[in-house]
């Protein structure tokens, strides 16, 4: 095979960079119209002030680290460079800026959700002494209200038993979170310590109670006017569909992954290839066909139909990941069991399934999170406000009458992303280890 000289690659890369820098960027800049719309605050050469401000902060950090090192050197009578401390200071400054970048959208959406006016599309600047607020770079927090949130819960009737269940769920969740934080502080990372067991039980209680709540919430409990008053129902629909889809994903992939990892039947390799290549077809472009299939099965506008339509999505990936995970577990335990007369099914259910909990959690969560934020398929299969999902509801707020529903979108976005945020932070460990266990192998 002919090898391309190394410098040629770099030369092409250099040319591309040069083109982007000297041709593309100037053309981009020339597309900016030099005019300011009403209410737009522009400061000529503002970047000079910003840069000087940044340099002053860096100078202060330099001064601080130099002084601290000087004093500690005097006391201890040694000679150390102040550079490491300065470097740390710079790192913190940089991290602070990245945090601002990462949380700026979150700040904006939080502010908008508490603002009953439509701050996004108002021309008049808010009356404030702060230049940043007047320019609307920092949201105006002068008029906070729960109005947007109240609209989402308008006319929602909660039966007493549901309130009690909700209380139990909230309590167990709080216990889980507090225990998690406490265990992190005392450095308890064993999974069989007493605190871990209490935590695990509370999580189970939370899961069961939430499940009951989701199942028994009915559309008749929503008496409010307007589509937005059904928000809780949408959350419930989404949780229901995502949960069932996640469980189905685990059920479908578990046995297949086991067979691929442990059996050596003829055709195993070709089946694995089939699994990979099927996954490469852009799934939802088969939507018309899936739609026809589901409609012929008489399952349109039902959650069952939607779950079935989603079910194909993760099978290939999940099977591969679970197969990879099982291959990293030693075979000796099962082999001992098989010699003792256990069947393959027994070896799988009694030995491997208990060991696979983290992987099942990973596959479940992956499908759960993916389904939760999906809205294209849902949009096609579900009709009627009562069966909408969160994604569809949010899209409804932003398309069409965007300007008038921005506050509602914000409130719904904040509440709607909470389940996923909690799941993600709660099970962060599983997400990270799942990706590495399944896909990255030495």
């Amino acid at each position: 095979m002919m090898t391309i000289p190394r410098y040629l690659g770099w030369a092409v890369f250099g040319l591309m960079v040069a083109w982007v820098l000297f041709v593309y960027f100037p053309s981009l800049l020339s597309r900016i119209q030099p005019n300011t719309p009403p209410g737009f605050v522009r400061i000529e050469n503002g970047w000079v002030y910003a840069l000087s401000g940044l340099l002053v902060v860096i100078g202060l950090i330099l001064l601080y680290s130099w002084l601290v090192t000087l004093i500690s050197n005097r006391r201890a009578g040694r000679k150390r460079s102040f550079l490491p401390l300065f470097g740390q200071g710079l790192t913190h400054l940089f991290m602070f800026m990245v945090l601002v970048f990462a949380y700026y959208p979150v700040l904006q959406i939080l502010a908008a959700s508490f603002d009953p006016r439509n701050t996004l599309y108002r021309i008049l600047p808010p009356a404030s002494d702060n230049l940043l607020v007047r320019a609307r770079v920092i949201p105006d927090f002068s008029q906070l209200s729960w109005e947007n949130y109240a609209k989402l819960f308008d006319g929602f009737v909660l039966y007493p038993y549901q309130a009690v269940l909700l209380g139990i769920a909230a309590l167990s969740l709080v216990v889980v979170l507090i225990l998690g934080a406490y265990r992190r502080i005392i450095g308890d990372d064993q999974s069989n310590s007493p605190w871990a067991q209490v935590q695990g039980r509370s999580l189970t209680v939370f899961a069961i109670v939430s499940f009951v709540l989701v199942i028994f919430l009915s559309p008749s409990q929503f008496t409010g006017q307007g589509t937005e008053a059904k928000f809780v129902l949408w959350v419930r629909n989404t949780l229901f569909v995502s949960g069932i889809t996640g469980i189905l994903a685990v059920l479908l992939t578990a046995t297949a992954g086991y067979a691929f990892a442990r059996f050596s039947f003829p055709g195993r390799y070709s089946m694995l290839l089939v699994f990979i290549f099927i996954q490469m077809f852009p799934g939802f472009l088969g939507l018309v066909a899936t739609y026809i299939l589901i409609s012929n099965l008489g399952l349109l506008n039902t959650f069952t139909g939607l779950v079935l339509a989603y079910s194909g999505g993760i099978i290939s990936f999940g099977t591969w990941v679970y197969k990879g995970f099982l291959e990293s577990i030693s075979k000796s335990l099962e082999e001992a069991a098989l010699i003792d007369g256990a069947s393959k099914w027994q070896a799988f259910t009694l030995i491997l399934i208990p060991l696979s909990a983290p992987m099942f959690v990973f596959i479940f969560l992956l499908q759960f999170v993916g389904t939760y934020s999906e809205f294209i398929v849902a949009n096609l299969f579900l009709t009627g406000v009562d069966s909408w999902t969160v994604g569809m509801g949010l899209r409804n707020f932003t398309t069409g009458q965007f300007s008038t529903r921005w506050g509602l979108f914000a409130a719904a976005a904040v509440l709607g992303s909470l389940p996923i945020l909690l799941t993600f932070y709660g099970f962060q460990r599983y997400f990270v280890s799942g990706y590495t266990a399944g896909s990255v192998k030495e």
């Binding site: 005019n35 067979a259 079910s311 976005a413 996923i420």
Partner: protein, 450 residues
């Protein structure tokens, strides 16, 4: 223990038996369903739900499988694959095959093979092959051909429906090719689609220079760019946070994951609001720094930049986490040795850390490229795009292949051309396969399976 016949023979026997079992049970399910319909007819508006077929088929399948497992013990290995295979066949492979087929037809939202309810015509009287209607049959049915020759029609009663073909139609009379199986009360025209060969592909390639090539090139640039803008900041952050002496390390690490944890359907819509030319906070901030309002979402080229900016925000936590994960597998001994040999920080970075990161990063980079190549959610959720002259509304400035296909197939301004959309999907499939093959070549994923 049991033993399977080796090689291709064993494979074929197993596949044959399983496929046979699935086929037989599906047939029995279908026949039972039809039998039920015929024995206890119900009005066609509230006919028996189709999922009964699935239930009947499952009821038949289980005993067949049990019996087969007894007779051919090695087949039980395959039973573990059966749930996954069945679902893949039904809800992934079947739609794929159907889509490929549609790619060779002129299927659209109107020509969908369904009866056209607006052509509902009452049948007054039936005589052998002739249906008599009140009024001009040609006008009522709005046939494609002037005399309705060969037009597919649907005839219904309260409980029955059937598909027939018209031989010709005239004032007050429709002649069918065969006598109707029952005495119909209503007749509809069926908007049939037909096989058109490679016409859709010809259409795509005939406008390749204005649509296919620009979209494909932008698709490649977007996928590569999205990986680049996510991976480089993520790598830098990961390297910085790997410093064990840094205070608040865990806090930064946890806090910075936020953009990964917010559902994309929410975060992309927040960004499109923030990038608004006049009112968006991002332009307001840049205005304070002396910039004029940047047309983020109204200029074609800036729209692409916005897509990359959002990719940056969405992508860097993943890469930060990946970097930290990969770095945690590098043993401290290596660094100790480097320190003893007198390497400075920069030398350690370029000589040890980066080369060691290369190995775990290659599959992640290629995987991320493949993901972004078909990153439908981001581009679609960014909303209405600025127009580019000479391109259809389905393939605007920042449209990638998959959004182009989707808009062609599902949006009214694309004419809901499912056939054309199916053809584009086939192209995407081949491109994705090509990318993945390169991926496997680099990572050696397939060799390992053997």
């Amino acid at each position: 223990m049991y033993r399977s016949p080796p090689g291709a023979r064993g494979f074929l026997i197993a596949i044959g038996l399983l496929g046979g079992a699935l086929l037989v049970s599906a047939l029995v399910g279908l026949l039972t369903f039809w039998g039920l319909q015929a024995a206890f007819p119900r009005p066609i508006d509230e006919s028996y739900p189709g999922y009964l077929i699935l239930i009947f088929a499952t009821l038949v399948l289980i005993p067949i499988l049990y019996w087969l497992g007894r007779r051919v013990p090695y087949l039980t290995d395959w039973y573990y694959l059966l749930p996954a295979i069945t679902f893949l066949l039904a809800f992934t492979l079947f739609p794929i095959i159907l889509t490929v087929y549609y790619g060779f037809t002129n299927y659209t939202g109107i020509r969908n093979g369904k009866p056209d309810r607006s052509t509902e015509t009452e049948v007054v009287r039936v005589e052998d092959r002739q249906l008599f209607v009140d009024g001009n049959a040609r006008e009522l049915l709005r046939c494609d051909q002037p005399d309705c020759a060969g037009q597919a029609l649907e005839i219904t009663t309260r409980t029955q429906r059937a598909r027939v073909t018209a031989e010709q139609a005239s004032e007050g009379r429709i002649t069918l090719t065969t006598p109707p199986p029952f005495t119909p009360t209503l007749v509809y025209k069926i908007n049939d689609f037909k096989y058109v060969g490679f016409q859709n592909f010809v259409q795509i390639f005939s406008q390749a220079s204005t649509v296919l090539f620009p979209v494909f090139i932008w698709n490649l640039i977007f996928a590569a760019g999205a990986v680049f803008v996510g991976a480089i900041p993520g790598l830098i952050l990961g390297l910085m946070l790997n410093n064990k002496n840094l205070a608040f390390r865990g806090f930064y690490r946890t806090a910075l994951i936020i953009s990964w944890a917010i559902p994309v359907v929410i975060s992309v819509q927040i960004f499109t609001a923030m990038l608004n030319v006049q009112f968006g906070p991002i332009n307001r901030l840049l205005g304070l720094l002396g910039s004029y309002p940047i047309p983020w979402l109204t200029d074609p080229e800036w729209f692409k930049m916005s897509a990359l900016l959002i990719s940056l925000w969405l992508g860097f936590p993943y890469w930060m986490t990946a970097t930290l994960g990969a770095l945690s597998t590098i043993s401290d001994d290596v660094y100790e040795a480097a320190k003893i040999d007198g390497a400075n920080g920069f030398q350690t970075l370029t000589g040890i850390t980066l080369p060691l990161l290369r190995q775990p990063f290659i599959p992640l980079l290629l995987g991320s490229f493949a993901f972004n190549f078909n990153n439908f959610g981001l581009i679609y959720l960014m909303g209405v795009q600025p127009g580019v002259e000479g391109r259809p509304s389905t393939a605007q400035a920042a449209d990638i292949l998959i959004t182009w296909a989707y808009k062609t197939a599902f949006q009214a301004d694309g004419g809901q051309a499912y056939g054309l959309g199916g053809a584009i999907s086939i192209l995407i499939f081949f491109l994705t396969v090509a990318i993945s093959l390169i991926n496997f070549r680099f990572t050696g994923a397939l060799k390992e399976v053997r």
